[in-house]
Structure formats: structure tokens, C-alpha cells
Symmetry: D2
Subunit: 367 residues, 4 copies
């Protein structure tokens, strides 16, 4: 009912506020005997961590995940796997100035109206800090998927009006190297250079900007997805839309596909391997999903992020008493969230695929 769990079989429940004791996550339904690599979990958290570069918030937090249960001698046991990430650099005083003010385009007003109480420090539960717990869980989902050769890759494909060209390669390692070669995490270095300059200018102006992240999931077996409501792309959509600041989702041909005609949009089946159980399609406007079920082609989708709402300049707003007031962002904030959100998109995608991979075992006719 309360919405802090995601997934059915590989199920996560997150907790924690931005400036409380800690945030964390329980994974219930993680299969047993999976090797748990704490160094990998940390490397994932580092991609989301604040203070990475000049175009992210300068706030400093090490974001170290501690495993409390569900692991024995380095392997998952099939029991709940709990991880906690303590909150360090809290600086609650930074937020005293917003204790009774509703920040524009933030969740202050809606949380106050819904719950009648809120932890105003740093946005409390509505803070994007919660996504660190998702990244930690996503790292374990990725380790599980890697056993099946399944890999998720996301990168920044758009910032403001700047658009990256289509990916030059499908090789995950090459793509990752290209993406990690720059601080904005765009796999096209030339576009990355442009994006970084733009974000830096925006930051200096005390403003913020939105962006887009594109993702591909490779080597997903045929059969993942549970029609008619839990279609694979419907669960991917919900997962992405649940990430802070996301305003749009499309898969395969997406919105552009809605302008096309069937004769150009249909993906023609071919049988390159002479295996009737392993067909491919010449094009992939379907984005690897047909009828809500993966068809063995690469799964592709794109996510739109609105600009960060906290500005380093004065804004008009209303306080809890209903009076007009002015507010100016303090603390340390991101001018653009997409560079740090890439690993969040990957984590949520990995969680969806892990959940559906397990679900599909229940129907696999070959078992």
C-alpha cells in the first residue's frame, strides 16, 4: 500500500531520509548463492555520489553501504539482504531557512498536505538521496544478471537542447569506456564536451537544466514480461518514472514512432541461425519487446529529466502560514542531475529485469 517497495520476486524496500540516521534497503527474494562483491557495490555508489566533479553538487559524502544480513561467507543465502548507508555530512542548519517555506516545484507542500508532518531537512524522504539505496540494490541485481550475460548500459543522450547522435557501437565495454571518459557521462565525447561547457555556464548563472538518459539492455532472453498489466515495458516505465525529476519515458520507437506508418514501423522477422526458437528482427522499432514480452533483441528506452528545482537565486513562494515569501537556494546542489542519474537508471532497469527473469522461470515451458 505505502509505496516504498518495488518488484515482486526480486523485491526491494527502501527507507531513510536525507538528514536522518541512515538510508538503506532490504532485498527480499535475492536468489541464494550469488557472489556479493562489496567493491562493486561501492563502485556503483561512487557513480552516484555527490562531489564527483565541477558539474555536480560539491556536497561530500562517502556513501558506504554496510551489509547487515543475507550474506554468509561472501554469498547470498536467500534470506533478506539488508544494507545501510549512514548519513554523514548532514549540515542540518543549511535547511533551517526552509523549515516553513514551500520550495517551488519541490515536494514540500504535497508532503505537508498528505502527511501533516514532514522532515524538511534536505527534502527528507523526497530527497534524491534515497536513490543511493536503489543503486546499492541495483548493484546486486547486476551481479545476478551478469551470470546470464545480461548487461544494462545507460548514458546521457541529451542536456537541454543538446542531443547526442546515435551510439557508434554496441559493445558494452567500449561504450562504458567512452562514457566514463567524461564527467557528464555521454558516450559521445564531442557532444560531452559541449554538454559540460553548457552545464558549467548554467551553474555559474545559478540556474539548472534538464536532460535525457538513453539505455540499452543486451542479451535479455525471450519471454520476460507478464501481460496484460505487468508488461516488461510497463514495469520499466514505472521504475523510471519513480526516479526523482523524471517526466517522461519511451521505449523502442517511442513518441517518434507514433508519427510513423505501419509499413515502415513493422519489424520483419528473420531466422539468421536457422533456429525457430531464436528469431531476430531486421529493425527494432519494438525496442526488444512485443506484446509486453522481451523478444531477444536489445531492449532500448529513453528517460526525460526535468531541470533541478533548487536555484541559487531568489524565488517567490508561499510559507506554511500561506504568506508570500522569498527563498534562495543554499547548501550545495546539482545544476543538472543526469550525470549522477545514469547509474540510477541502470540500477532500476537491472531490478526490473532481475524481477522478470525470476518470474519467467514460473512459466518457462522448457523446464
Amino acid at each position: 500500500m505505502a509505496g516504498n517497495s518495488f518488484g515482486d520476486v526480486f523485491r526491494i524496500t527502501t527507507f531513510g531520509e536525507s538528514h536522518g540516521e541512515a538510508i538503506g534497503v532490504i532485498i527480499d527474494g535475492c536468489p541464494p548463492n550469488i557472489t556479493i562483491d562489496e567493491a562493486f557495490i561501492q563502485s556503483e555508489l561512487d557513480k552516484r555520489r555527490p562531489g564527483q566533479s565541477k558539474i555536480t553538487t560539491q556536497r561530500k559524502e562517502s556513501d558506504t553501504a554496510k551489509i547487515l544480513s543475507g550474506v554468509f561467507e561472501g554469498k547470498s543465502t536467500g534470506t533478506p539482504l539488508a544494507m545501510v548507508i549512514p548519513n554523514e555530512d548532514q549540515r542540518s542548519k543549511d535547511y533551517s531557512h526552509i523549515a516553513d517555506k514551500y520550495r517551488p516545484s519541490h515536494a514540500d507542500y504535497t508532503y505537508q498536505m498528505k502527511y501533516g508532518i514532514r522532515d524538511y531537512r534536505g527534502g527528507g524522504r523526497s530527497s534524491a538521496r534515497e536513490t543511493a539505496a536503489r543503486v546499492a540494490a541495483g548493484a546486486i541485481a547486476k551481479s545476478f544478471l551478469a551470470q546470464f550475460g545480461i548487461h544494462v548500459f545507460a548514458h546521457v543522450s541529451g542536456v537541454g537542447k543538446i542531443e547526442a547522435p546515435n551510439l557508434a557501437t554496441h559493445d558494452i565495454d567500449e561504450l562504458t569506456a567512452l562514457r566514463e571518459s567524461n564527467i557528464v557521462r555521454c558516450a559521445d565525447p564531442a557532444t560531452a564536451h559541449e554538454m559540460i561547457a553548457f552545464i558549467d555556464a548554467i551553474r555559474k548563472a545559478g540556474d539548472t537544466v534538464g536532460g535525457r538518459i538513453s539505455a540499452t539492455i543486451q542479451q535479455v532472453p525471450v519471454g520476460l514480461g507478464e501481460p496484460v498489466f505487468d508488461k516488461l515495458h510497463a514495469d520499466l516505465a514505472k521504475a523510471m518514472m519513480s526516479i526523482n525529476a523524471v517526466h517522461g519515458f519511451e521505449y523502442g520507437s517511442g513518441f517518434a514512432g507514433s508519427q510513423m506508418q505501419g509499413s515502415e514501423h513493422n519489424d520483419v522477422f528473420v531466422n539468421p541461425d536457422g533456429d525457430a526458437n531464436n528469431l531476430k528482427t531486421l529493425t527494432n522499432f519494438s525496442g526488444g519487446i512485443q506484446g509486453g514480452i522481451s523478444n531477444g533483441m536489445d531492449i532500448t528506452f529513453r528517460v526525460a529529466f526535468k531541470p533541478v528545482a533548487t536555484l541559487m537565486r531568489a524565488q517567490q513562494t508561499i510559507n506554511e502560514a500561506g504568506e508570500s515569501t522569498e527563498i534562495t537556494g543554499k547548501g550545495r546542489h546539482d545544476p543538472c542531475v543526469v550525470p549522477r542519474a545514469v547509474v540510477i537508471v541502470e540500477a532500476m532497469a537491472a531490478l526490473v529485469i532481475a524481477d522478470h527473469l525470476l518470474k519467467n522461470q514460473l512459466y518457462d515451458p522448457t523446464r
Copy 2:
């Protein structure tokens, strides 16, 4: 686990194949003492029914819903409300030619691979016919919401490359009259005229085209939505993406918003009524949802539909034996789904809002 239920409190479970005995739905969690108006349910089904106009399939089905339980003396009793819609004009022979062929961009291949068996007649469970059950359930959700003055309105805002201008009015009755004044269900008559001519030309060419539906939900109280995963827009996204042929969803500023800067995108709070518990915003780039919770402004979103995959022309494909073959659409199909999908979008939106309205009772601090 299996994905044929939607919603938590106001929960529907649908069943039925295109050419089986019947399709239907159980609503579990429908509040008691709601007046059940069978004429209204029928009028909603009529909006989705085939054979409405020259730009929809000519297949004839009356699509009459029969209530089997959960209603006593015209009112809901709080027990499961079951409705069945018998399948009439089945013409199974129309489908014998595709019994062993995988139609391009359909679910034939993925269903066969996932389940090892499929009812190939008319797409079986993957047929959009299943959405009639959603419309019947949505009609009851709408009746429930009407008690709170909440109304959902959707219309066709795009067909192919044709785009409708922004709505000229916010009055639901006016909008509905404008929309129902034309067979494509666009609330802008001039654009409607253009769309109809285009779809008719596409139909004559044996081709199909995609389109877009825009929706607004008015008078939604503040507080609906369950962060951090069951955010109101995340559940709307999943609901829309679960509709056949949908490839994209955006709310509020959507993808366009991801090109904007915070200083232009933020919605400034105002207090027009001098009521601290009833604030408004000057703009509504947030689409009526902040932090995943409704803020009292109109909820706005847009849905992208791919072109119909069944073409009245020959296409190359593969059969179950893995051999190359050719297929040509028989039977009677839609050149464009959006005119009939408007009421499906409304139904799914009403189901999401009804579900969250009930959930929110559990947290409402004013109770």
C-alpha cells in the same frame, strides 16, 4: 505474479481471449453503496466498440457487459463486482491463415516462446479486445470519482505528423462536446477534419498510422500518490504503458521540459483563496504532481501509440517451423487505434485515481 491484475485497493483482474467464450473483469475493493449505472457502462463500451465509423475496423460486436455479482438493488455492496462481455462475431476461420505464422510486430512469437502454447485466433490474450474489460471497470471508477467531482478527459491530440493545438477551454462538458463532434475524437474540429482525411487515405492504401492521446484530470484533491515507488505519475505511466500499442508516456512538461532551465520551469506557488491548505501554482509544468503526490492542479499527461501492426498488404515473416513465409492481413482491422483508445486511456486513468484516492484515506491527517 502473473500480471492480470491492476491496482491495490480498487483492484481489477481481467480475463479472456479475443475469440474465446467471453472476456471480463472482477473489481475487488469497489467501495459499497455506489450507484451502478449500466447504461453509462454501455455508453463507455460503445466508445471503444468496433464498427463505429469508416476509420475504425468494420468488425461488428455489441460489447454488452453483464454484471454477475457485487451489486444489490442497484448499488455496489463492497463485495467483488464481476462483469462478463460475451464474444460474438468471432469468425475464427479468418485466422486459420496465421495459425503457424508470426505476424510482424505482434505478440505471436513472444507468447509462443514464453508459454509454449497460444490461442492464435485474433491474437488471443494479446488482442486489444481485452481492453473492453478495462473500459467496463473504468466506467465504475468514473462513477465513484464523480462523487468527488473528479473528471478525466482525454482526446486525440496527434495522428501521424498532425498535431492538435492546445485545448481552447478547460470546461469538461465543452471539451467532450467538441471531441464527440467528430469520429477521430479530437477536441479541435479543424484538426479533426485533417486527421480523418489522413487516416482514410492511409486505410485505402492498406497501411496504418500511429497517434497521440492527451489527457487532463480535473479536481483531484491534494495528496494522491505513494512515494517513493508508487508515485502518482509512475502508476499513471504503468497504466498507460500497459495499453496495447503504447510506446511512450510523459506528464506535465514531459520530454520538452527536459530541454528547459529551472528558472523557466519552476511553478511558482500562489495563495489565491488565502487558504494555506489550498495553494495553486502560476504555471503547471509539474502536471499537477510534485514529489509523486497530486498538488491540486490539473493532472496532465500524453500517451504515444505506435501504428497498428496488421497491414492489408503482403509482408515477409517466419513461421513456427522457422521458415520464411508471407502474410497478408485478413479480417477487419483499424487503420489507426487512437479514436477507439481515448476511452481506454480515460478508463485506466480513472482506475489509477480511484485506487490512489482510496489509499490516501489511510494517511489523510485531517481524518
Copy 3:
């Protein structure tokens, strides 16, 4: 939320009132390619049907289940399997005399208070007639389990103060033959004779009596059950307690075991087959379940049913206006429910085992 669904993977949702159009059930999550035997479904319904013998209600209903979806060419397709059982011999007039009276130890008062409305005819949704839908679903669960050699057997082990001795055999076929040799469905013919005479005398006195049903589930593989809350016996308990008139559940040594000492109660492990993965225990006080997980021994449990509340004699009660009044059972009622409840107990047990068998595929280390 509303409680008309049971199970997670093999999930049923039932609907229908005693005197409405029909009752029925949707099974969502039934694996594909299971042979659906309508004759077997009917034979199961016949065991629950009214009018079987002099010691059951004389009400006549054929209770025929019609399959509406989820089956193609005799096999399950993995899509929702819906079944409807029309209500025939309704005689609503029989119930006009209780329209505004609260029958003692029935659900009239609680339903009226909870929902503010109720279908008073024959108890409406609270009628045990709903269990016919469970039996139909249970028949399909039994067919699924039979593929794995798993069999559920229940019989009447107690009526009033009459207790049957322990079962003389473990052979399912012999036990079934013994049980079906008498109308009270007790596998001990001598005790059955005594029970029948007692129930008949109770019936003639216009009174009713309670009883007990004992069950065993054979050939359940090791590993079924999901600690710490969804332990196999916890789900069996909920399943049994959800059956009308049930007041108690125990498994293995049960209440008697709570009087024992560890040294006599512990089940000693042995390895008769020299297979470390297929151990047995010398005794089975654990009832085939240890730590909430099946251990490969027979699962054993017992269920207590209260006496039927409807008496063929005058009783004092209160009406909806709060006034004292008198009520006398009309219509045709059972003097004792256990003979017809045996197949209901089996059905619910089969549904629990089918659900857990599927769940356990997700953790099976041998996969």
C-alpha cells in the same frame, strides 16, 4: 486489500453471492500446457454439491462450472483461467423473513456494519456457496500437482464428540474408497456408521453439530514454504481458517504436542536410501514441515468446524432497528457441514501446495 484473492503465484480471485447471477473464480498464474479435465472438475463439485444425502441440505443445484477463458484445445495457456457457476435454485422468497433480522452467529450484523449494505438472500457473499468456486479452482490445482505425484487426502475424523481412530493405511486409493463408501466421508466405516446416525438424530431435532476434518498431503518435495511469515503451515492455516465455520487448525503434533517434552517430540533423522538429499524422520510430530519448509515427509493437519448456525427451531435475536425479535430457520440447511467440506479442505490445501511449489522454483539451488 479487499480479501477475495488467495495465493501469490497460483492465485485465485473468487466472486459471487449465494442468490446473485452466478459465482465464479479467476485463476491467474496457472502454468501453461496443463490438461484441463472438465469431468474431473465436475466430480469435485459434486462432492460439495447440496442434496447428496439425507444428512446434507436437500437444496438442489447442479453446480456446473463453465470455463470462459485460459484454455485452448484442452490445455491451459498461461493466461487467466476464468470459471463461472450459475446460481439456479435461488428461491429468494425463502429469505424475505430475514431481510431485516440478524441471524445469531451468522455474518448478517457484521456485514451490515462494515459495508452499510448487504445482499441478505442466503447470506449473500458470506454464504458457503462461495466455496464452490474454490473447489473448481482446487480441481485444477490437483491436476497440476498430480503431474508431480502429489496427492491431497482429507476425511471426516470427528463429529461432535465422536472421534475416528488413526488411519489404517496410507494408500490414497484405499483411503478414498473407504471414505467414499459412506455419506459422512469418514475413512473408518465403523465410525462413519456412528457419525451418520448421530447427525441424523441431530437433524431430526432441528439442531446442528460441529466436526473435524483431518488431512494428509503425500509426496510433497522438500523445500516448499517461504520463511519467516509465509511458512508452509502458516499459509495452510490461513487457507483453512478462511473456510466458513472453521474455528481451529493444527498441524503435526498440534495442541497435543504442546503437552509433550522435547525428548519424546523430536523427530530423529534417518537416511534409509543412503541419499543425503532425501532424509526421512522416524516419527513425524513435525507434520512434514520444519522451520516452515516441507521436509519430504507426509504433511498432516486437522481442522475444526463449529456447528451450523441456522437451526430449524425458534431463536431470539435483534433486527436492524435494534428491536428484539424471533427467527426460525427456513429453506434447506445442513445439520453438519463436514461431509461436504472435505473437498473444500482438499481444494484449499491443493491451492496452497501448488502456489508454494511454483514459488520454490525461484530458489531451487539445483536449477
Copy 4:
């Protein structure tokens, strides 16, 4: 799917192994603005803590719960409330001798078979230590229920063959004082004296013994329970059966009621206050629940616990290699669990009532 969550609206998810870093719980769905009393949480944990008296294990653990989230300035915020209880006195070496042996009537064998791996230290996840997390969550449920005047009371009503007489009073405070006046937690001091002497003798003999706990829940409003599967007593049964060592559950007249006749068992309605919406019954064989819904009378139930499986004497068993071996309990164990289980029974009952109290808001016709 994995079974570590309980409840739908007031939902808990527990984690942790006996000898891992910590155990803990997340409550998702705890209503906002509830005063969180850490001293009360601790006082509840103290009732379950080891080392309380000569008839409990001498193991020493402070069992201190630390709140990590969901509480702001002493009140719940409606966001997930996470609590962690660190594991202290672990003495893992105590368990080296059972690393490869299956203890009789424990979960070692079933966990190993199900998951293919297990944390053998102290039973790992199957240890009753997990119930400390339930008690901490139950304390918060009790605080919530106290706002409505609802109170849960349980006590030890039986040890081995010793049975306590019916309660002499219904006053919660008196009952609590009587129960806490002795170390076995029986509200009848004379019987308590007898029980203590018996348990002490059993302990000296290196043996263990089972027992029974009886509970009453007072001031539960009419209307709690969600037929037909989530009946209030069905959820109470599942909650109790999920507690370690429980083998039986009955409510109201229970097993004894199954020996009675309807004419003696029916609860006659009366209207003492002249309020048609607040009826009572002369007797309470229904245990405060009719048709699965609370009727306003005291809810009564009884729970049976098997004897502790760990004995301080040599027992024959089998090891992971399938070989015969001998095992003798080391470490510090309870001769009888019921004195420490009283607060666990209360906690689970409070969780069930809190969950259903919230659910019932969704249907309350008076709203």
C-alpha cells in the same frame, strides 16, 4: 513472494540472522503523527530478551532497537520506519559443532535443501531471534492501537499438561499485574507457581516442554476483517502460525466448539445500550468474529507451542554427508519458550489489528 513481509497497509519486513551483524525491521505504512516512545519499545523487547530468569536461556543480549528513519521530532512521518537491533553476544564458536549436522526438529535440513546454503550459526534466519524485530514493530502497532483504546493481552495458559483456569478478570491492568508477578507470565499465580516448578525440573533434566498462550483483544471496533480470504481470524491464524514452534491455533470456541451443537453454540444478540449499531452477544463462542469480521465483542484465541527442539542431552542424527552422527546441545537454550513468547503473540496480534483497522477505513460506510 519471498516471505519476509507481513501485513498489507501496516506492513513490516524483517531481516537478519541470529549471528549476523544485526536484525531489524522496516514498517511501511505506519500512519503519520504517532508518538514514538522508545522507552516503551525497549520495555517490550525486555519481555522477550534472553537471560530474564532461571527458566529462560542464560544468554545475555541487551536487544536495543535503534530507529534509523521515519521519525521526526518524536513523531512518525508516514515514511518507512526502520529499526535495527545489533547482535551482541554471538559466541559463534558455540555452533562450530553443528556446522555440518542436522539438528532434529530444527530447520537445518530444510534450509539446506531449499537454499543450498545456510548460516548455521544459531540457526541463522530460522532462529527465534528474528522475533525481536517483530516485537519492536509490535510496540509501535500497540501505540497506534492505544489511540483507539484497543488493547492486546496474552498470558501463558498452559505448560505441558498443566492448564490455567479461565481468567478471573477482564481488566487489562489487573491481568497484566497478575501476569508480570511471576516469571512464567501466567495470570493465575497459583498455576504459575506449579508451571515454574515443572519447567525448572524439566530444565535440570536437560529436557524441554511445550505450552500454550491465550490472548484477548479488547475494544476492537465492529467491521475489521476482509472476507472471504483475509478474514480477521484467518490473518490472526497466519500471524500466530508464523511464530517459531507454533503448531496450533484456535479462536473463540475452537476445537472444543467442534464438539458442540448449534443450539448451545450460537451467540444470542442483545441490545443493551438501545443502539442498533452497537449490539452485543450473551455468549462469545464466536470469539468476537463473525463471518471473518469483528463484531465488537472481545476477540479471543489460543496458540500451541511445541517443546524446544534443542536438548542438553545426546541425540542421534544425520550430517550433511548423510552419515549417522550424534549431537548434544551446547550454548544456552530455553527449556520452554512460552514465557518469552507472550510478548511475541501480543506483537503479532497488534500488527494484525493495526493492519485491519487501517484497511477498514476504506469501507467504513459512515465516512
